[in-house]
Symmetry: C2
Subunit: 206 residues, 2 copies
Amino acid sequence: MAKKIPEKVVSRLTFYHSIVSEFIEKNEQNITSSQLAHRLNIDDSQVRKDFNLLNKVGRCRVGYCPKDLKETIENTLGFSNKRNAFIVGAGHLGLALAKYDKFDNYGLNILALFDTDPLKIDMQINDKKIFHITKLLDLASELNVDIAILTVPRQPAQDVADFLIESGIKYIWNFTPCVLSAPKYIKVWNENLMASFLQFACKEID
Amino acid sequence: MAKKIPEKVVSRLTFYHSIVSEFIEKNEQNITSSQLAHRLNIDDSQVRKDFNLLNKVGRCRVGYCPKDLKETIENTLGFSNKRNAFIVGAGHLGLALAKYDKFDNYGLNILALFDTDPLKIDMQINDKKIFHITKLLDLASELNVDIAILTVPRQPAQDVADFLIESGIKYIWNFTPCVLSAPKYIKVWNENLMASFLQFACKEID
DNA sequence: ATTTAATTGTGACAATTATCACTATTAAGC
DNA sequence: GCTTAATAGTGATAATTGTCACAATTAAAT
């Protein structure tokens, strides 16, 4: 990637992407920084600064070209770098994520799910099969997968994580409410719904 | 709240809370800033700065008292300010969130779920009943609920959001992949899984 | 053609957040 | 008791992020 895109900008880019896609569907020819800013409740100059980072130029009194913007955002965020991943834990959350169509669009390819519940094994979700977790090691090396999305319950979380690491998984996107212990060379990303809510609550709810 | 806690600190506090709870379960009498820092892959001085914000003092060569810390974090994050909420959309994601036990602990009380699918109506999830969405308006005013967790599919998302707003909902925690349009006085919090992943991907995955 | 008003682009600044380096404290070992 | 080493506390500084104000541009109106 040419320029490093700051974390917050990455987050906003995905929002811009959604909104811009809407505009394209509605066949709009232009979109202005203040339209975007208004939808996201942010400052319009920030939108323009963000686009500057992408070397996008708009036209005064007109705005930006949605198609062009969309493409640039996709390239910047690397939607084209396909990455393969497994979902580990086929409970409601795992299934929800397996059905989440945005992952594909954004370059994250869910290849299969894993669970231990015999009733779930061999089920299909969105063309993705659920395997018994004992199959994970072989499939990971066969399919060259090193990203796991961990959606098991709290209790087995650490044990399953340890197993994933033994199986060659290098990146864990952790949806469990545990802070996993892992060696330094394993990258863990904690999805933290409570933190997210509390930030919302602190900021907005009196 | 006495002092304003910065957003990032709120996020870390929830992680500290998890880890500290573990320590308490293991009956540890002390926890050091570097133990916490190590688990979260951050700088230990940051942990200490965070605790300073809470007016917590540790003991040199010993660390902090887990029980004391836990209590302080809970008070700071306002776990005791109970807030009532509805989940709107009883798909996998809605059900996953309904079962997510941490919400209760952190002061977010899910009172009921809503859907339109006749097969789901009247089912119970974790003592929470699923109602037809037409019941929402009455129940919201009856139970004094103004927070909705929106977990419907992409397509109906905006329409459902409009309906929620008409029904008196003031805060929407939006799990759909849409950027909702809403009047300024409605607070929308977009949960953005893709942004979260992309931040992870940009930072950690080469 | 001229004027007007909307919009971008951007420098200056402000606020927030993280890191570093160092001091002070004190439990533990001798 | 004295020394050592681990740990907290903290000021200085750096990096990141957001806001504001305003000049430059230009489409649209006249």
